[in-house]
Subunit: 646 residues, 2 copies
């Protein structure tokens, strides 16, 4: 460690860096969770239906505290602050995750869709009731046959000009709405996504407000709802399936911010291109994705505190006539936990950067469709996709490693891993399957994504990339930059420098940038080459997909590292900054070590230097193990939410 | 693929290779499971106590079929065939895993301990009742304070010469028996491991037969039993904690195969060295470890069949006006599933080899303590440890990947991943924590393990390795071999050969052998160097532990590959053999790709060849995806045990 400080790092100073400007809000949410700390243990004993009722009650109680709808307009119970939504969600994720998801469905997805896709008439009619949980609702997008490919949904909303109504219909079981949170028991209404058909013409997927149940909780005529049944986790969330049989809603129920049907039955939209319209509408719903990544990181923190504490208390094996050794004094145990702690720090800062961008763009008001806003929104979408995928995969991996690192004790439900594992497992799937999201990230990098090419259709992408982008964007401007970077920007390339510079963040960043540039250009060349040779675009894409996702990962890792470095740059000198610098070194070098084969294969890393990186990671793990408790306690997880005596 | 055959590979031919000589037994067990196929779905709905009762009933029914105790002596309801035990266990693992574990505790651990550690008087008294499930029991080894470090257990069994009894006692809560399967509800007795104290002298850990409950199921005087409470999985197994307060059992209850106390209160054992005695006793209990690895592989198969079928049915995204693409036609999806399928084949063959060795050694009768038997047993223990660790880690990874590859559908309990994930999660922990087991493997490699150094104490090991083995065994004999191998045995080392030889199994094996030898010698040098410089042995060991475990992995992977190659060598020419050859290529190259950085760092792999390996893995995944269904259906999992309509 580069630490020269006289004093020890203070975990509360570190915690302050994490909590940022929403520290007060986070404290209030923690207070709410601590008052209900027994919920975590009771949840293990409830039947699924008891659990669902308890979760609904907590969500209603949360609404009473005013913690639930900060992002809504002030006129309807909110505070016009979408950043607060994210901070609240990240903090609720320290507690029961069924509560979290029910909360997210009600206020984020259902309320958020009405807020973002609706107009003043919808806001006035529903937002205050949603914020106060008097109106519970669902977000009915996914169908049995289509999850990732939202554009191909098959539920229809056909305009009946005679009555001025939309008729919602489910053509077959493949088109039933599926996995809809809040639907099996509690939703009184839903935002339903359907193909909008007006005067025989299909205008693509739009959203409508659709009542589901009457006051007594019975499904309305034409609506059939079925429970999805037992799930791997999130047993406190009532997921359901919905069929519509010629269900009529008034014309005004179309959430009409981006498209409308007037009294004369004429469809209009300020966005002419249907693909662009679709992706603009979807883009406004990004909050869910921003929140889920943050929740994954929060869940990782809970797991790491528990496992690290255990490792500083549990002893096993040792020399005769001496106390047995602490788990954390074993080199392998340090190797298991410390890189995960370091990565959790890195992802936390990346998530904070994402949340700031989200707030900045979504607080500047709606409707600005200028070119700059457009670019910023695309960048935000790419960053959100990358951070959500990395944050949730990290959760799956971290919670698993922590469970194993606690042995049989980790297998007891009382110690929280059971619920953490089960409940977070679907985070990699919902709000955008991670693999699909990384594909979106790659595409953004390849094409400097423009609305015209916004579809996830691989063929359009392969053709576009093959015929235009590589020549114009990539080969000319981009490749030149790349070559310059390669020549100048990677310090410490040769053997001669030995271990020198391994702890230089500029080196880390240059390595990650070089990989990103090289991989992106490489996959562009392969796509273009495949198309040029007359290959079938589907086949070309399929063969390049693994490489393409590698480029996306490389991009995502660079964003994460940059966020870490920017955070450190903003800190005053002191023992906390020194400690964070070491954590950053470990994070960056562990990533370079993991993929060191790639750099060696591409002539950017000598074999001797690669071995030096492994030795340095070993050393950093050992040095940082002394600070492991400080590092995890800085996550600020209330004692009452952690298992006793571990 | 090297396939030149005119006919397609036949899955039933492949299945025959898997099932081996126990095909009939496996079919009978499958029949038993199919009759109870509804159990899998019902289990999701039962309360834990209902589930436990149902599981007990199934175990009792299994006993009635005679499937339960093939390894016991024929005189007591068995068939003197421990190989059948393993085959039965591997097959039961296709069904509910609480049933599997309860079955394993009753017949394998409890019955097995009495069989292996007891003598004729115990066999006569208990084995038939155990085989027929009239006597239900526990295996009470683990304590709260000691799981992995069994030698440090603190329960005592003190001989009272006046009454001719042993007095069992739990000194404090840290020494209570913990996580004991079958104990919370059903066990009438237990094999209890305790420090045996005779005339004031502690002779180390021994096993005793101890009644726990009376006919009405009440704990006997002096015995306290507590439920461990809710667990992450295996909810149908009643794990409990046991305290003994001066509990007396007759002298004859000592399981006295390896040590006895005579009527005069004199302790004696045919094995003088206490460490050696302890490890000999433990070594006889290896069946559990052999079985759990096999069960992990079986569970992986279930997950892979489900995910592969889904991938050949589910479509998502595609070109306009064409059917959407099948998941399995995506390059990334092939990359996700095919290497796991290939590795499952490899591990199945490694497991089969292990089971054969186990049967061969344990069917030759007991008591042969000659040098050759000794070496064979040590080799078996190392192989069992390696296979158990690899098989169970593979299960965790495979089931997770398959769940994610099925998206939200994979999250529904009805599709089996929920229970598979939860129930197998502890497989990496019980029957020997995987990290500890790999340490055992490494130690075996380093020291050509002898009984005298059989303790898991790292200090003894580091000292021993430092002072003796490196000089005598490793440096002289071993290093020479190593150098020879390096010079001669790695074909295709240079760039000049391009892709040549990448599909040559001799190349794969030479690469894996070279890594194993080089890593083992390297860690031996580091340990010796650390000790020679006067380092604290604990510190030296801790710093080398990650490297040490790398050497263990390298050894384990070589064993797995050899088993695959031996299996193929024994097959007739034909389409099935051709297919298996391609599967073997994928398995070996995926492993070399995964760790290619290491070979590059050590000058055994050029960067161009490393890139060629990645391309070849891509190609193999694509080529084999056409046979993916055949490959997984060859696992022979009955249709009734698989989810419908996926």
């Amino acid at each position: 460690m580069a630490e020269s400080a006289e004093s020890k790092p203070d975990k509360s100073v570190l915690a302050g860096i994490f909590d940022g400007e929403y520290a007060d809000l986070r404290d209030r949410v923690k207070g709410f969770l601590v008052e209900r700390a027994s919920f975590l243990q009771q949840a293990e004993e409830w039947t699924p239906s008891e659990y669902r009722e308890q979760v609904r009650d907590v969500v209603v109680e949360a609404a009473e505290t005013g913690l639930t709808a900060a992002g809504f307009p002030a006129a309807y119970g909110g505070a016009d602050d979408v950043g607060a939504n994210v901070a609240a969600f990240e903090t609720i994720a320290l507690g029961d995750l069924s509560v979290l998801v029910k909360f997210g469905v009600q206020f984020g997805l259902f309320g958020g869709a009405i807020h973002q896709l609706g107009t003043e008439r919808h806001h006035r009619a529903y937002l205050a009731d949603i914020a106060e949980a008097r109106l519970l609702g669902s977000f009915a997008m996914t169908e049995t046959g289509h999850g990732s490919n939202v554009q191909a949904l098959r539920t229809t909303a056909t305009y009946d000009a005679d009555t001025g109504e939309f008729v919602l219909h489910t053509p077959d079981d493949d088109a039933r709405k599926d996995y809809i949170g809040n639907a099996a028991c509690h939703a009184q209404a839903a935002v339903v996504f359907a193909q909008l058909v007006v005067a025989g013409e299909n205008h693509g997927v739009h959203a409508l407000y659709v009542p589901l149940r009457d006051r007594k909780g019975r499904a309305l005529p034409g609506i059939r709802i079925e429970d999805c049944g037992r799930k791997l986790g999130l047993l406190g969330v009532d997921n359901g399936r919905i069929w519509f049989d010629q269900v009529r809603v008034p014309r005004e129920n179309l959430l009409n911010r981006y498209a409308d049907v007037d009294e004369n039955g004429v469809y209009s939209s300020p966005i002419e291109n249907p693909d662009r319209r679709f992706f603009t509408m979807l883009g406004t719903l990004i909050q869910g994705r921003v929140c889920v990544g943050g929740a994954g990181i929060s869940a990782s923190k809970v797991a790491l505190v528990i496992a690290t504490r255990y490792a500083t208390r549990r002893r096993q094996f040792g020399a005769p006539d001496e106390p047995e050794m602490l788990l954390l004094d074993y080199g392998q145990h340090q190797r298991r936990l410390l890189p995960l702690i370091a990565r959790t720090y890195a992802l936390t800062f990346a998530q904070a950067r994402l949340a700031r961008d989200f707030r900045s763009i979504f607080s500047e008001g709606h409707g600005g469709d200028g070119g700059d806003e457009e670019r910023r929104r695309r960048a935000l979408e790419s960053r959100a996709a990358a951070t959500k995928a990395l944050g949730t995969w990290h959760a799956t991996r971290t919670i698993q490693e922590c469970r194993e690192a606690c042995g049989g004790v980790g297998y007891l439900s009382v110690n929280r891993f059971a619920a953490l594992k089960a409940d977070t497992d679907v985070f990699t799937t919902f709000e955008g399957d991670n693999t699909i999201l990384m594909q979106l990230v790659a595409k953004g990098r390849l094409t400097e994504l423009r609305h015209e090419f916004g579809s996830l259709d691989y063929r359009g992408m392969a053709l576009y990339v093959g015929q235009q982008v590589v020549e114009t964007v990539v080969e000319k401007a981009y490749m030149r930059q790349l070559i310059e970077r390669v020549k100048d920007a990677v310090p410490g390339r040769g053997d001669a420098e030995g271990d020198g510079g391994l702890l230089d963040p500029e080196y880390h960043l240059a390595m990650l940038r070089w990989r990103e540039d090289h991989m992106t250009a490489g996959v562009a060349r392969r796509l273009k080459g495949g198309i040029d040779k007359g290959g079938d675009p589907s086949e070309v894409f399929s063969r390049c997909q693994h490489h393409l996702l590698g480029a996306a990962h490389a991009h995502a890792e660079r964003l994460v590292l940059e966020a870490f470095l920017t955070t450190i740059d903003g800190l005053p000198e002191g023992p906390e900054r020194s400690l964070l610098e070491s954590v950053q070194h470990l994070h960056a070098l562990a990533e370079i070590e993991r993929d060191r084969a790639w750099w060696m294969e591409h002539g950017r890393l000598s074999t001797e230097r690669a071995k030096a990186i492994t030795r340095t990671v070993d050393d950093l793990c050992r040095d940082l193990s002394e600070h492991a408790l400080t590092l995890v306690e800085a996550f600020g997880i209330p004692e009452q939410l952690l298992p006793r005596g571990m």
